[in-house]
Subunit: 282 residues, 2 copies
């Protein structure tokens, strides 16, 4: 007997496709139904082996699912969770993979939906600037962190079930409130994205042919989909602004030290950055 | 007959060690003499096969060299070039691998030294945040860009010889004035380094365990040696300040658009960053 009978994945891009691949290759679900807007993505995901069935109708895809994983862009998640909750079986569980959590969880009444259907938010710290099921990979979540963000209204058994789902995919799970998640991710992901985008945009075009590994690394995330990132930073606006301001103050200190030729201060600030970077590794 | 008889490498870290490995594995030099301060680095470089001889005395290492490549930190390059010029054979050629060029070339009287010894500056766009001959690699320069920066006083045959040296190591060569080099590299390397350092330093320690691939990429260069980078940005201060200010203005526009919830403007700025990043690839 499989751990799940039917799992529905709404949105079969890199992340959704990888969830499907992991569920099927690990023998965790009897059926993995993909729900997508475009037949071409669904076909590619099926060809990769990520799905056992596919449909463009959420109502149909959710009909037999005991678990629905919503992998669509942040701005669409609430709507897709609501639709899934309407059509899935009584008592089904829904989660998502959105990069912000507080606004989504708040819009969904803390995750207690109709007919005993529950929503508990998730955010797997996996994925990349690449998009589409062609980049899906069954090990995408192996040893990666997934943040699960219950609300005060969440039932313990629903939270446990969602955490068990991610662990079955190989992930390490951390539990945080939606607010704590958004504050932390503003600092570790959303503000860095704005910094990388601004750096790429500010580099004069005529100098781009001289970009080497340092520039490529520092700006890599700026290649991510602009509309997806617009949604992410907009739904986490307050925390992102705070993180950007904290960064801007640090850069301004470093700039001032350089302007003042204060060599000791420059060195100390560079060392502070190196200490944080070295402590993370990778 | 080899392309060079004796090449001396002053400073056998990642870059110097890789030059030695490339020269020897490609059969380009009869002798590669390493000059270093620490016997342990010289020993490691010899063990890697990067050197045929090693000494801690620059006077001795340069004595028979028709080509001297100075691979020491930016702040020491001028001194090491002067010492090499004093002890090397008449008519020998000297180059370096420093990340800034204008201050070095100016300090060396445009590269016309005593006894027909010449200096022509170079900057290979290779290397990484890693240091030491243990990371040396004979293909470090393969298909990489090397910027060669003659002054108005440089002789054509000296410039050609230094360019031929880098091409023999597999590199593509671009010729620029020292000033044009420093302006461009401020934008593509030195300012990005300050941005990455400030971002790493500004990320609150308590959130670091949640850093994932985006943060790791964006801050990677901040792991570089702080003192080496202090020297680089300090010797290219004016251009770096200008590039940092250009970046700060772009970030400020993006921040303001987010604060104003001007979704169209946010999207356009993110798209501008993506266009620059996509145009470079990699």
């Amino acid at each position: 007997m499989k751990q799940w009978d039917t799992v529905a994945i709404v949105g079969v891009g890199l992340v959704g496709g990888s969830i499907g691949l992991a569920l099927r290759r690990r023998g965790l679900a009897a059926r993995v139904v993909g729900v997508g807007r475009r037949a071409s993505s669904l076909r590619r995901a099926r060809e990769r082996g990520a799905l056992s069935a596919a449909t463009t109708k959420l109502a149909r895809g959710a009909a037999d699912a005991e678990l629905v994983v919503v992998c669509t862009p942040v701005a669409q998640i609430v709507q897709h969770v609501r639709e899934a909750a309407e059509y899935c079986p009584r008592g089904a569980r829904i989660t998502d993979v959105g990069s912000t959590k507080a606004a989504i969880v708040a819009s969904l009444a803390g995750g207690r939906l109709q007919r005993d259907v529950s929503f508990v938010g998730s955010h797997p710290l996996a994925g990349s600037e690449k998009q589409g099921p062609q980049f899906a990979c069954e090990d995408l979540f192996q040893d990666r962190l997934v943040i699960v963000t219950p609300s005060r209204r969440s039932r313990a058994e629903d939270v446990d079930a969602i955490e068990a789902f991610w662990r079955a995919l190989g992930a390490r799970v951390v539990r945080m409130t939606p607010q704590a998640h958004d504050e932390a991710l503003a600092a570790t992901s959303h503000a860095p994205h704005l910094v990388a985008s601004a750096l790429a945009a500010a580099t004069p075009r005529k100098f781009l042919p001289l970009a080497s590994s340092g520039w490529l690394d520092t700006t890599r995330v700026a290649a991510g989909d602009a509309e997806l990132w617009r949604q992410i930073i907009s739904t986490n606006r307050t925390h992102v602004l705070k993180s950007v301001d904290r960064f801007a103050r640090m850069l301004s200190s470093l700039r001032q030290a350089l302007a003042d030729e204060d060599q000791e201060e420059i060195l100390q600030l560079l060392q502070a950055g190196k200490r944080h970077r070295d402590s993370v590794g990778g």
